[in-house]
């Protein structure tokens, strides 16, 4: 069951990317490509022979596989359509951050590996951003953990479900913190622009400039997965209603429908925000992420002050 859920995760990720693209095109008065274009792109890339730089070491050629596997493993930790799966007890949210961290580590290494100026530049920027983003993310997630007294996502979500709809200030802070972090971590506007062709402004794209063929396909797929992973985290932690609590066909199906709906709405929100704002100057990123951290911290404090006594 957990395997099916992970497979579903991987299978749906390009669809989410396609839907996001569709929303953005709509908001920009353009005609969008088909929702399934992301699948076609991935298939096209896997058919092509990768071109590898002469100076590339084993890191460069292995990195895409490691990045993809780590991201898939991270995705397997996150409950997509059902909680209380047998595997959910194995890994908690720290492991999730760890998986994402190792994927990023290898991506940055691969960027440095071929020795081009852009790769190194991208890696250095990515590390700057993530060193600021990770504490903020952990802070947001810890707020949830404190409420549910667990770092296990599945248990935490069940706890939220059982509590019912209670307005917790700590959760509001944590939600906004996590949204800010998610935007930064997935390389969206205003931190990074995934569609740019300007090498000097790139962060994520700069690291993968030299990739082609199936290597590129894996990395693209991994980043689509990552986008979906953050979407699911936000959707299921803060709005878990609809997720399957028992393993029956009907509840699983409704769980699937629920998450698809929630992700679709989140993508619309993201598309609107990407249409409204320009990319920020690179040196503003730390302010942005400090703000996310501050929100996370406020969430934690408000939990301790307002909610912990209950």
């Amino acid at each position: 069951m957990a395997i099916v859920q992970t497979l579903l995760f991987a299978a749906l990720a390009p669809l989410l990317a396609g839907w996001l693209k569709w929303c953005k095109c709509f908001l920009q008065n353009r005609r969008a490509p088909s929702l399934f274009q992301s699948y076609r792109d991935l298939i096209k890339l896997t058919r092509k022979q990768p071109v590898v730089a002469e100076h590339a070491s084993w890191v460069f050629t292995r990195a895409p596989y490691i990045i993809f596997s780590a991201t898939v493993l991270a995705a397997s930790v996150v409950p997509l359509i059902a909680v209380n799966l047998p595997t959910s007890a194995i890994a908690d949210v720290i492991v999730l951050v760890g998986f994402l961290g190792s994927a990023r580590f290898f991506l940055a290494l691969a960027g440095l590996d071929i020795g081009t100026a852009f790769g190194g530049m991208g890696s250095s920027r990515e590390m700057t951003v993530s060193s600021l983003a990770e504490p903020a993310m952990l802070m947001a997630v810890f707020t949830l953990s404190m409420t549910a007294s667990t770092t296990n996502l599945s248990v935490g979500i069940t706890h939220v479900l059982n509590e019912g709809l209670v307005l917790r200030p700590s959760f509001v802070f944590a939600l906004f913190a996590l949204i800010l972090v998610a935007v930064a971590e997935t390389g969206r506007i205003p931190i990074d622009n995934p569609t740019t062709h300007l090498e000097l402004t790139m962060i994520h794209e700069a690291m993968i400039l030299e990739y082609s063929g199936r290597h590129l396909a894996l990395i693209e797929w991994a980043s689509q997965l990552k986008l979906m992973l953050y979407g699911v985290l936000i959707a299921n932690i803060f709005f878990p209603w609809g997720i399957a609590e028992t393993i029956s066909l009907q509840s699983l199906l409704s769980g699937l429908l629920a998450i698809v709906g929630k992700l679709a709405v989140l993508a619309i929100v993201l598309a609107i925000s990407e249409t409204l704002v320009a990319k920020m100057r690179l040196f503003r990123v730390q302010e942005y992420l400090s703000f996310a951290y501050l929100l996370g911290l406020l969430g934690m404090l408000s939990h301790i002050i307002l909610e912990a006594s209950r």
């Binding site: 353009r30 506007i189 062709h197 000097l200 320009a278 990319k279 920020m280 100057r281 690179l282 040196f283």
Partner: protein, 527 residues
Amino acid sequence: MNSTTANWQTAFFNQLVLKGCVVERISIASAMLWQIESRDWQLFAEQGLEEQLRWVAGWAEHNQSQFLVNACFEKQGLYLWLRTIITAEKPELPSQATVYPAASRSERHTRDMFGIEFIGHPDDRRWTRHKAWSENSYPLRKDFPVQGTPDHITPPDMDYPFVKSHGTGVYEIPVGPVHAGIIEPGHFRFQAVGELILNLEERLGYVHKGIEKIAEGRVPVSLARLAGRISGDTTVGHAWAACMAMEQAAGISIPPRAAFLRGILAERERVANHLGDMGAICNDVAFIFAQMQFTRIRELWLRTNAQLFGHRLLMDRIIPGGVACDLTDTGCALIRQDIVRLRNELADILMAVDLNSTLEDRLYTAGYLAPELAAAYGAVGYVGRASGQRFDVRKDAPYAPYDQISFKVAVEAQGDIASRFWVRNKEINSALKLIEKFIDLLPPGDIMTAWREPLAGSESLAAVEGWRGEIVSYVRFEADNKIARFYSRDPSIINWPALEKLVLDNIVPDFPVCNKSLNGSYSGNDL
């Protein structure tokens, strides 16, 4: 010519004579040519700087056993054309680049193409010369074959001595000439500490097409076509400048209707390019919504071009003696409608742009070009006008049809990217008004004058305001209606060096938007 402008030339002439400079004043077609001894070349520049002349252009010509070296200056809308003659045995003269930084690349170009040595030039590296022709051959000398001496494969342009910097934490970022996007080729070498730009060096010349060489021996119609291809986005501007120079040299004047039609074409080109640029500036800071809207209205504008003039970018519409296409009354009505629609749509888009604080944060104060620097480099067009340089050929040295119409020159003083953005907007507004006035005043009559073969040796210099700024064209005829020498100075040649200055103290990821706000033409620079 009013009295103050006449005065500075007389006073300047007297000043030069006082300094011991021998000046021969020759009146040619529309311009005033001053011929001096080669030893006074630098002295003239020093005096010129004191007189606050702006360096405009420099070019040379091979004539049997001698080289004619030319430079052009401007003050208060009056052009001063300077020439000296040096022998082919000892082709050298003192450099003006020591006085005018704007002359530096031009002199390096002349050195590469003719083998003329500029003594005291601060930069002895090659410029236009890459590796496409052998070490001691000079393509613009008459004995060099037009087809060149190409190798099977042109070797890569290796070992160009870029400026180096040392120190902990300083690193070099080479960018281009092939970029991730579909843009023209040019190489940029950054020295940066962290993300802060310490120095930027441009290396251009990758789109050298030998325009100057292949222009030789052409007939006027053919030269106009060639000039229209110097830089695709400035096809009207360059074709007009070249045609104006040829017409002045041949002593023919174009019918008034043709002049007005040329004005309409040039302003339409200006509007289209500014719309594209404003969108591109937004795109470079990832405000894609605005870019899509600007692109859309530009496209509609271009379609009207295609419908009325038969070419989206108006290529080959300007021909020697007049224009190739007429405008009917229905066409005029269509243009009017188009302008009304464009104004409305533009107002809506600008509202969204103006109210966006995230965009404001990126564009204001970034890429600052100080007015003093803009003056020192003689920056022209919207780059100069965003930094308080008021010069506009249409206003200061007006030519038909601009001499019959009053309009306001758009100027901004902040010198940042936002200034260059909003000055474009102002120029669009004034261009739209100009088009409306041209249509109102469009005189009836012919759109062409018959061409008259000019005498061998007749030459002329013409300046027009292209959408990027001042374009200066030089033409000399030989016998049988053929071109002996053609040189066109695109505004990019002047503005590119300003980019090296305005990116300093900015961060590396802000370079693309700085570059876009200047938007120099690579093709127009490389010729």
